[in-house]
Symmetry: D2
Subunit: 366 residues, 4 copies
């Protein structure tokens, strides 16, 4: 028997809208028992007080538990549910279901999926080497789970990670522990950064000796070209999903990736599409568009305050958070390339690609 | 003697930053006396309480008055200064100077510029036929000013128009007049809509008999493919700038336009670029990018709540105004095409292109 | 046997935080079976895309269902759960549980509670007379449920009502129905307004012949002095909770109310407190503060743009919604009076008290 | 001859609205040559990209220059113009003019005013001891200017201070200098904190040996009870206005102050009012209200995330900045006390009063 990965993109009308997923179950297009991971782009602000992520996870766990005859807690143990808040610009709220089935078909070198979790973190571990190292170990575990042995075959590593809240900081300080920052918003960046460096460490993108607490969130020359980390208030451990191609898997899906050097690096998206079988001059044709199963990218404001020499205002805007601007921008660039808006553009790309840029991965049906 | 239009794009560090423009004067690249219009993309919210537009106009008028030995009020009479607020996503705050000089060179069918102003509007005229008709008359005056006789040679008509504030509404009602709306934010849309229909009327894009107070802001099947209207609290009349190509003008600049059918209509931008001499598969090359003198486009959320079938959240977001999302999206798509972020993307495209889309014009140096 | 109402105020750390309520159950301070209504102040934006309300309701229904051995749907049928989004300024997110028990004690003329629900509304009924009349009928049913026969004994009527979303509007229009507005944000105001007029109609505060579709959201001289309506995307019918004093009920709680004439009507709050037994010059003392079981008030921006002659900017601010400003203001004024921040200040007071003001009710332990 | 201070509160319709001030000049109520300081509450966001402050200063300087027959630059040298952004909740945008005239009348121990400026700061000096010490020196100079010799007679010290922008940080780093923070929003807090500690140092509220770079923005047990600091992008030095009572000054104005221990410390406001001659149980009467010339207070979120034990959400809200919430709250509390909304509530109270509280000063006409 060979493993076969399937990817289903499902629109949502609100964060707890399960109708689309239940319709897939009813039509037997997906068996709930085969789902290993769910990514979601929810319509909150993607920042500290974005409860749309937790709300979606709660609805998903409750719904899946009913289908599987178990409890939401067991579902959350078994299925990596990674919600990323923020559908700025024209982005469409949607879920992406990843399912794995067994098949008699011959292996094709197709999309392979592996998942893993770190242990729970204490507040004082977030944004520090403890989080980096636990993440690296979990990435290796997820690769093993996926049957991927070469780091060159890994094209996307999704990490969902915790953040510090006023309450969590207070809890740590009562115990005499110190936290990496008192700024809750900043803690999201440090947690994402430590997680991305964990991926880079596992994949050999950075050397272990270059890493320390001091470089996290500071030395952005260190980065991973395949990591995508999202922070959410609703969890206290890192959840890892590794996506790659594996000679041992069957099916018609292929994944490829590239690295955007800045927020308007349209050619990088075209290269990734082309590597996965969707070469196009300009926007994908309607037929090609239908074959795009998912686009997954990171977005962040450049710390220089510039894009190709021109000033952007993301870092100086006190009305709209910088990550919201960045998601809107990269969402527009990726929509230009693909002709679609149901794209998984996730904000906060610390140590995920170069400053102001980020990884972009595409999954394509052949 | 032949007229010759020049276009200078100048970055701004804040809305009152005149340093870039003054440097052009000091270098004798532009003579202040030749300036006929200034567009500006300022970094406010682009909505009711965006004072960055008025602040920039105030700084420009004061600065030009000093150079020209006159008063700011006289400058404002003579130079159309049209600021559009909102640099969401990665857009760069900048000014675009339009200057006209006389030359001995032969005419080349190059970029031609004409300006005109309507009389001052009373609050009760905004968003109604009085504004439509006054705008149409001013467009015809601006075409005459530019020496453009065929409407086919008009590729962009910029209109800056007023809005209703709580105070202006009260002033009208004290006089017993009724206004088109009590919602100040909505008044911006009605004023832009009436202005765009005025352009469409002047250019024969809509028939006079189809127009009435009732269709303004309601029947979006009526639209102009070249109008771009911005509303601002700082003025009480419409300011009109017509841009086209004219057999009577000299120089190497050409303007072309197309109409985006939705917010992600990348091919429409490519067609406009190509028509103006910048054909490219994908993003413009660095050399081509340097020849792009300006890109001017409108952005708005589709009223259907959808882009190519997928839901967007612009109209249901109570934290970020819908026009801000739309500018960020179209800014991303246009940056994908051009590789630049100093683009004049203006929000609120009522009756300016089809629902959810809008005109896009490009000025290119040959 | 006599009925006895109890009121428990429970802080929440996030919208789905059930720990405080479960602790009350564990300590046998409240029996889950006795709960008839739960009000909640959640930390979303209180506007169209505020999902904290639905998230809290989902968590409450699931939690109560587990305690009561039933389903969340049955809980939602039985318990009125009215979440109001928005804790601007210093307001504290919290739940208020209303429970009713039977007792041998003699009646004391204490706090009485009654609940009722309207049928489900179609989108085209919202903000129109259909909603007014169904609400009036439900108020009468809730008074009967509470054993209150005189409208003078009614001091607070909470209504939770639906709103229009882009999707609901489209659904209605597919059927050929027309809706009261296409502006989803505005639909919240119309729905609250129609609900409040329903309360006023039931209590004789307005005459039936003065009401029509045309006055809803327009003629703000028509209002209720006890209605409090909140709109939320998560429901499609009106939920009604009537609070008053009844000769037939036992216990030490008393409710009183007054009407704030504007957003800074501190004396009105003092009068309501005094009528319920908490007279104080200035802020309540620490002892009095402990006896305040709940303060429930409405907040809205004055449509004149003025407070006692001075301009406010609520209606012209495109970054922060007007209702958010208004809640922050009234929250500050009520905190000044009470020395507490866990106050149920609810935004959007259309037809709930005079323009710019609103009802304020207090429940006090004797 | 004796000096006499006058205070005029002038509403503004927008940040550049000079009509109210010019009407005072026209009516000879104020002589432009006598103005020594202007405070302004403008309607921007009060954060990094709030250009309403600079816009108002620009309009004031230009207008005064015209009246005084000089240049705006000379006006800015001579008159301290301190704009504070943010009129959240119900606060009214307004200017407060401080003028000083000579009189034959006998001294009355009335309101006295002194002003001073620090030298210009380099970016690397902001938020550090260099700023503390320069501010302390300027406070002593302003006291001397006011003829106040005892620190007990100082009731309010307004400081306007610079902030770091992306551009200023880059400028410093090009020179090899390091700045106190790379977070532009955080730089506002550090600059205000250093300024407040400068006031505290000058007035003996803190001991010199307790101060160092490390305590700024960190050890909030160190604070001034009379400092009020506002940060603005438009200046590069500190501007100081000292207000107190002096035996040498004439007139009927008196100033008093108190310290709010938290954001809802209504009794502290009542004590300050009472000390200045406006004792009231509850809100000021209409007559008293007319005698209140100005209320000046600081607002900030408590760093504990709590107010009297209840959670607030200011620090965890990524849609509305924490200082905006805090101004709305304190504005509501102060409006409750005074019955007015044209109050100078300024955000960001680092080292200005205890954590979560702040100084409040009132100027009253006898």
């Amino acid at each position: 028997m060979t493993r076969l990965a399937s990817v289903h993109r499902v629109p949502m009308r609100h964060p707890a809208d399960m109708a689309g997923i239940e319709a897939l179950f009813a039509a037997r297009a997906v068996d709930p028992a085969h789902i290993v991971a769910i990514l979601g782009k929810t319509e909150g602000n993607g920042c500290v007080n974005d409860f749309t992520r937790a709300y979606a996870v709660s609805a998903l766990a409750t719904m899946l538990a009913a289908h599987l005859g178990t409890t939401p807690a067991v579902v959350a143990e078994r299925v990596a549910m990674v919600m990323s808040g923020g559908t700025e610009g024209g982005l469409a709220p949607h879920f992406i279901l990843f399912a794995v089935t067994e098949t008699d078909a011959a292996p094709t070198g197709a999309l392979a999926i592996g998942t893993a979790f770190t242990p729970e973190f204490r507040p004082e571990e977030l944004g520090r080497m403890a989080q980096v190292e636990a993440t690296a170990a979990a990435v290796r575990a997820a690769m093993a789970d996926a049957g991927i042995s070469s780091v060159a075959d890994v094209h996307y590593v999704q990490v969902k990670c915790p953040l510090l809240t006023s309450e969590r900081i207070a809890e740590a300080e009562v115990r005499g522990a110190t936290v990496a920052t008192h700024d809750t918003y900043r803690s999201m960046g440090l947690s994402r950064g430590a997680s991305a460096l964990g991926v880079a460490l596992a994949l050999g993108e950075v050397a272990a000796e270059t890493l320390s607490d001091a470089v996290i969130g500071e030395d952005f020359r260190l980065w991973s070209g395949v990591a995508s980390a999202s922070a959410g208030v609703e969890l206290t451990r890192n959840e890892i999903v590794v996506l790659g191609n594996s000679a041992a898997w069957a099916g018609g899906l292929r994944i490829a990736h590239d690295v955007m050097q800045d927020g308007i690096d349209f050619p990088a998206i075209q290269r990734a599409l082309s590597a996965a079988g969707l070469a196009a001059p300009g926007q994908l044709t309607e037929d090609q568009r239908g074959r795009l199963a998912a686009l997954l990218a990171k977005a962040e404001p450049s710390s220089t305050g510039r894009i190709r020499g021109n000033r952007h205002i993301m870092n100086d805007d006190s009305d709209i958070n910088a990550t919201r601007h960045a998601r809107a921008l990269v969402g527009g660039v990726a929509a230009a390339a693909t002709g679609r808006t149901d794209l998984f553009i996730s904000g906060g790309a610390e140590h995920q690609g170069p400053d102001g840029g980020g990884p972009v991965a595409v999954i394509v049906e052949s």
